[in-house]
Every structure is written in structure tokens, then in C-alpha cells.
Symmetry: C3
């Protein structure tokens, strides 16, 4: 079978949501829907004989294992590196470009995470095989954006006309940036933004999203959360972005989802999302609420979205 006959992703890199169009997104989601229903017998033929390098220069367990699972469930092989600065030629002074060209000789694609924004662009320029961005510093996390949007669409049946609430570190949160960019491709979306004063969305980026037609409304307390939201997208304040630990401690639990908040401000049709890890910003008493999808549907959808992407790029 050829599930990517109409795709424009074949042999392409995916390092930013900037290349996405509603048509391409629809293609990816349709592919994810198909793969979700496939037997292993069938799915494991898609990447047969293909080898994918997972090159992670920054700690990760969730995204790393999501990609590793995706490759393996599609019948592909992996070369796996975590923190390769300590275990590779990098400590002998090799450039990123040389490392990439070596892996180009061994593998059919590279999935890469790096702590420094912009590194993924350099990686793509160095080789002719596809590169997939698994997060680059405070830059983008474009597969997370797809899985977030996929999760919203599966519930709300559309990515237009939505009301959403995004909470937490809007300044440094790369998942927030990528999701906002993606939602800006659709019409009539209204997003409420709630963050500590020091972690507000960067003004230039905010203008850009607004210019594309998203209605952004900054609110300053949980009491202003609208009752009509389709989704709440909660994020943690990221310890690793702070140089002053006291500043972090002060802000980390400024906004917390509790059963009480969900009772007061939630509604029946909404879903509660989180890119994980959470660190106290969603009360565990909310975990068994049927609207909570952060430890279930959202994670599972990530697996299917990554399988879909790998299929479309390499299948």
C-alpha cells in the first residue's frame, strides 16, 4: 500500500511548523487515523529496511521513546543516541556538520533534539536525508504542535472556530509557540493567554499571530478563564530556563488546575491538555477526570502522529 501518494512530505525535512498548510495537516491526520487502525503485520511493512537515527543532545525520555516506538512499530530500525556530547566524536571536537554527514551514510533519516535554537537548520543544510526536529532549545517542537492539534481536532472535529486557554510559561515554552503558529492557519480562533507577568508571550511574536487572524486575549488570573473553552492547554514553568532558582520557586505554582477550578470554570465538552512533564501545575486529583487527556490520548496521539510523519517522509 502507498499511504503517502498525495503527500508533499516525501523525502522532506520537518523542522518547523512554518511549512504546514491546512491541506498537509489534513493529510498527516488522515494518515495517523489509518495507522491507528492498522495491525502490526501491516504497519510493520511501512519502514521495512529503513534505519532512523535518533540523535538527542538534550535529555528526553518522552519524545525519544515516542519516536523510537514509532520507528519500531513501523518495522524500521533505530540508531539511538542520548546526550551524545558525552559519548561521541563531539568531545573530540567534531563539528555538527561532520557528525550529520557521517550519520547520513548509515541511515535514512535523522530525528534530532538539540539544546540550542537554530541547530536544526544547520543540520538540515549539512545533509541530503530528511531531518525531523524533536525540539531545539527555546525554538520549536513541531511534532508536539501536530499532536496537540490532532488531539484537539479529534475532540472538537475542527481546528477553526475554537476557544482555547493557554497557561504557563508563554515566553520560553516552545510547544506553545508551535501550537499558536499552527492554529493561526485556521479561521476564527480565540485564545486566552494566562501567564506570570515575567513569562508573557513575546510582543513581536504575539503581533505576528494576531496579524494572521487569531484573537489573542491576555488574562491575569484564573478567575478570568472563559466558561466556553474547547481546550485548556496547561504548561509548566521550566526550571531549566531560569538562572535564579528563587525566581523559579516563586512562579512555578502560580497557576494550578485543581478539581475546584475545573468544577468552576470547566465545561462538559472541553479537554485538559499538558505537553508534560508537569511539576505540580495540574493536581493529581484531576487525573481521573474524563476531560484529562494529558497522560492518555495526548501521549498516544503523539505516537500516531510520529508514525504518520515517518510514513509520509520515508514510507
Amino acid at each position: 500500500m502507498n499511504i503517502n501518494s498525495k503527500s508533499t512530505l516525501s523525502k522532506k525535512s520537518y523542522i518547523s511548523v512554518d511549512i504546514l498548510t491546512p491541506k498537509l495537516i489534513s493529510n498527516i491526520f488522515t494518515t495517523a487515523d489509518k495507522i491507528r487502525k492498522m495491525s502490526f503485520e501491516k504497519s510493520s511493512k511501512i519502514l521495512k529496511g529503513k534505519l532512523v537515527t535518533l540523535l538527542f543532545f538534550e535529555p528526553s525520555s518522552r519524545t525519544f521513546s515516542s519516536f523510537a516506538s514509532a520507528v519500531k512499530r513501523l518495522g524500521g530500525m533505530t540508531l539511538e543516541y542520548q546526550n551524545p556530547l558525552q559519548t561521541s566524536s563531539a568531545i573530540k571536537g567534531e563539528t555538527l556538520e561532520d557528525t550529520m554527514r557521517v550519520f547520513e551514510n548509515y541511515s535514512d533519516a535523522v530525528v534530532m533534539r538539540h539544546f540550542e535554537k537554530g541547530t536544526l537548520k544547520r543540520a538540515v543544510d549539512a545533509v541530503s536525508i530528511p531531518v525531523i526536529n524533536a525540539g531545539d532549545g527555546i525554538g520549536e517542537h513541531p511534532t508536539q504542535a501536530l499532536l496537540d492539534a490532532y488531539t484537539i481536532q479529534r475532540k472538537a472535529k475542527s481546528l477553526s472556530g475554537l476557544t482555547g486557554v493557554i497557561v504557563g510559561d508563554l515566553l520560553n515554552g516552545r510547544t506553545v509557540h508551535s501550537l499558536l503558529k499552527l492554529l493561526s492557519l485556521y479561521k476564527n480562533n480565540t485564545i486566552y493567554l494566562l501567564s506570570p507577568q515575567q513569562l508573557k508571550l513575546e510582543p513581536l511574536f504575539k503581533s505576528e499571530i494576531e496579524r494572521k487572524g487569531v484573537h489573542l486575549i491576555e488574562i491575569s488570573s484564573q478567575s478570568e478563564i472563559p466558561l466556553t473553552a474547547d481546550f485548556w492547554y496547561w504548561t509548566r514553568v521550566q526550571k531549566e530556563r531560569f538562572s535564579d532558582i528563587k525566581e523559579y520557586e516563586k512562579l512555578k505554582n502560580k497557576f494550578v488546575v485543581t478539581p475546584e477550578l475545573l468544577e468552576e470554570k470547566g465545561n462538559n465538552k472541553m479537554i485538559l491538555m499538558h505537553p508534560l512533564p508537569r511539576v505540580g501545575d495540574i493536581d493529581v486529583r484531576v487525573d481521573n477526570d474524563k476531560r484529562s487527556v494529558y497522560l492518555s490520548d495526548q501521549v498516544k496521539n503523539g505516537l500516531y502522529i510520529r508514525m504518520a510523519l515517518l510514513s509520509l517522509i520515508l514510507g
Copy 2:
């Protein structure tokens, strides 16, 4: 083929020898015997399409690779993590429960080692997929107990009516604890216990084993080892359990198997076992003695026992 039709382990977790019964043990051993004779062609169908996460929070090469081999030889796929405290969401402050629930979305079972006793129980409670204990601090190491018993049974043809000698750190040695519990399920077993005064079996635990019918005899020197043993189970004094290194140095080689000791106290039908690693507590000159099984049968049996367990749980 369905090798687990009569099993009660299907989809169950295995974190303690407490769930074992003679019937279940017999089922596991029979399965191990069958797998031992299978071609790869046949064995590799048992876990086809199944993905097992190996989540090791404590260094391990032997148990880790034994499980990894077992999954792969059964045709399954692995997600592999060693020391994930350094490479995962744990450093971002994620709870064990959240980590487990994420891996639940990617995989069909989790094999877990942790440095802290009791953590495995928490892991099991967090998810609905099976969890296998690969060692939890000074707690249990229940697959080691099975492979030890399997090794004894293959030689002595029974787990009842045995005479055994267990030597070393009986206070902290989790393999000792698990093996004694397992042997207490059978009748007429007599075990001689030899350890430094400071590392004797904990009195409450000793009473419990005796109450179940095992005849325990504490001895204080190698000269008291009986001539009629079916097995010697030697263990190292564990450096990592000592805060005072001098105390460790004093005790570590108090009891050592030498060719002379084996000549004097051994017999022809016995086997010499060790859970490994050894650190001088068995003289290398004994390695080629036909009774020494610690670097051969015992290790190999571990592979088959883990294959059997995975088959019964997931197959």
C-alpha cells in the same frame, strides 16, 4: 501456539515471589524448558508486535542485557533506558507515576529496576500494563530467585528435600531473600547460613522462613559446611550498602571458595552458584570445575526464565 493456556500470569505483574505457588513455578519451568528447545523461527513469533520498556534507574549490565536478549529472542521490540534519572523527565521533576503512565501509552509491559525498595509497588499501582521487577534496592529480585531455583531443580530434579548452603551478605542480599522465600514453598529443605556477624539474616525474616517449614542452621565458619549439600549459593559482600569503606574492606573476603575448600567440603552431586558479580569471593581457579555453574548454566537459565515469564505474561 499457545504456551500459556494454563497460566495464571497472563497480563499480570511480577514484582515479588510472594505470588508464586508450586504450580505456577512448575508452569514457568515447563515453559522455560520448551523455549530452550525452540528454533528462533518459532520463538520469535511469541512477542511479535509487542514492545517492552526496560526502565533501569540503577546500574545493571547483567539483568538488563538478560531481559533485552529475552525480549529480542522472542521477536519483541524494546525501549531501553539506563540511569534515566540523568536522561529523562525525572530531572525536570516528573513523578514516577507520570513517567509510568507515559510509557504505558508506548509499550505493552515495563521491566523496571530501582534503587529504592517499594518503588515497584508504586509503579504497578500507576498503570494497567504488566510490570516486572528487575531488582528494587534491598527489596526483591524475583526473576533471580526463579532462575536460581530453576538451576537447582535442573540438577537436583526437585525443590523439596534439599540441603543448601547460603553464604555472604544475608542482611542486604535481595537475591538471598527471594530465594529463601521461594524455597519455603517446598517441603523438607535445610539451609545452612554463613555470614559475617554484622550481615546475618534479619531475625524477623528468619522466623518467617522457619515458620514456613525451612530448617535454617546458622554456622560461623567454613569448617561447619555440611558434606551433603545439593548446592552452595555464594554471594558477595555488597560495597554499595556500606557507608564505612573500612568496614567493607574488613568483611569482603571473609568467606572465599577455593579449590581447597571445594575439595574438603564439596561432593560430586552439588553445584556452586553465585548471583554475580563476584569480587574475589570465588577464586578463579574454581571456574573450570564442572560443579561451577555461576558463569554458565546459571546465567543461561536466567535468559530462559525471563523468556518464559515474558511469554506467560505477554505471549
Copy 3:
């Protein structure tokens, strides 16, 4: 198919180029040529059901991933360890011999890198399964020698009657030592040697190579490079072999390939090789020159040579 019917490598270890003969080398190269043309469908049957342990006690990304790719592309399974001193029984004080014997019970062969020369010999002596040397300190790197020779032969159509230039750290460079030994098996080879005064070929080793018939000519500056070379084999000055960092800084870029040097001293039929990583000793402006093979053919040939070796040893 049986690609190793005439091989003498079956079930043998490969830890030094000393076992090579022109006939064996020819057999390996022919096997590599065959594998290069195979479909994955066909190549993936060669190691079906075989498990290879990759045991790396020293950082490596290139060689590690080359071997991992090779095993997987041949349909085999891997047990993968990098820096196992930190994650294995080694920290509990286990000997190398015991570690090897444990892995012998799990796997069909071990590929091993170690920081200490001579360790590979100990590893081979400990077990009865094949062991492949992936680099042992300043000792040998015998698969690199094969891939280097294979790269030369594919271009020059012979390993006799060659003129070569070898540059860099000739004292500590294990790839240089292994390549010189290999070339000494053939007739009429002339090698120009260029290195800092402190990093010249060790005199005893030099005499040995000369006695076998290689014509060695030491030169002291780039201006003496002959115009008729079949290959330039450039190597880096290895930072990790210096105790005095200042000394390293002084020597590291004494010899550099630039477009100008290649224009002045190169010829049309030659190739420019490097075992990688490079650290400024080949100017990136040379990368796109058609004679540069260090980031392309040479790396790819490494994959095929390792697939050929694994086939001949285990297939």
C-alpha cells in the same frame, strides 16, 4: 545463500590485522562487494536470529553506529553498551573476564572497544564466541584498516604498487599503524610519512614495516608531498593523548589540507582520506572536491566492510 563457504573467518575473532593474508582480504572485499548490491530482503537473512553485543568502554559514535547499522541491516539483533564502566557490574568490581563470560551466554559475538591496549586479547581469551576489535587504546583498529584499504582498492584497483602519503599523529594513531601493517602484505608500496617531530612513527615499528618491504620516506613539510600519490591519508593530532594541552595546541594544526595545497600537490586520480573526526586538519572548503572521500565513500565502505566481516564470522 552461503557467502562464506570459502572463508577462514567462520567463528573466529578479529582483533588484529596480523591474521590477515592477501587471500583473506580479497575474500572480505568480495563479500563486501556482494553485500553492497543486496536488497534488504536478502541481506537481512544473513544474521537472522543472531545477537551481537556492542561493548564500548570508550566514547565512540562513528564506529559504534557503523557496527550497529551493520548488524541490523543484516537482520541481526544488538545488545548495546556505551561507557559501561558507569552503567554496569564494572563499578561493582567485576573483572573483564567475568563480564565477557556473562555476555557469552547471551550473545553470538561481541564487538568491543576499550581504552587500554591489550584488553581485547584478554577478552578473546576469556570466551569461546568471536570477538571483534573496534579499537583498543593506542593499539589497533583493525576494521578501520580494512575499510581504508577497501577504499583505496576500489579507486586504484590494487593494493600493490601504490604511492601514498600519511600525515598527522603517526606515533599514537592506531588507524595509521593498522593501515601500514595491512599495506605491508603487498608489493612495491611507497609511503611518504609527514608528522610533527614529536609524533613520528616509532622507530622499531618503522623498521618492522620496512623489513616487510614497504618503502617508507619521512618528509618534514607539505612542500615535499609527491605529485604522484594514489592517496593522501590525513589524520588529526589526538587531543586525548596529550597531558599538556599547550603542546597539543601548538601541534594540532601544523598540517592542514587546503584547496591551495590540493591544487599545488594533488593529482586527478588520487583520493583524500581521513579516519575522522577531523578537527581543522582538513579545510571544509575541500569537502566538495570530488577527490574527498572522508565523509562519503570511506564512511559508507566502513559499513559494508563490517557487514562483510560479520557475515563471514557469523553468517
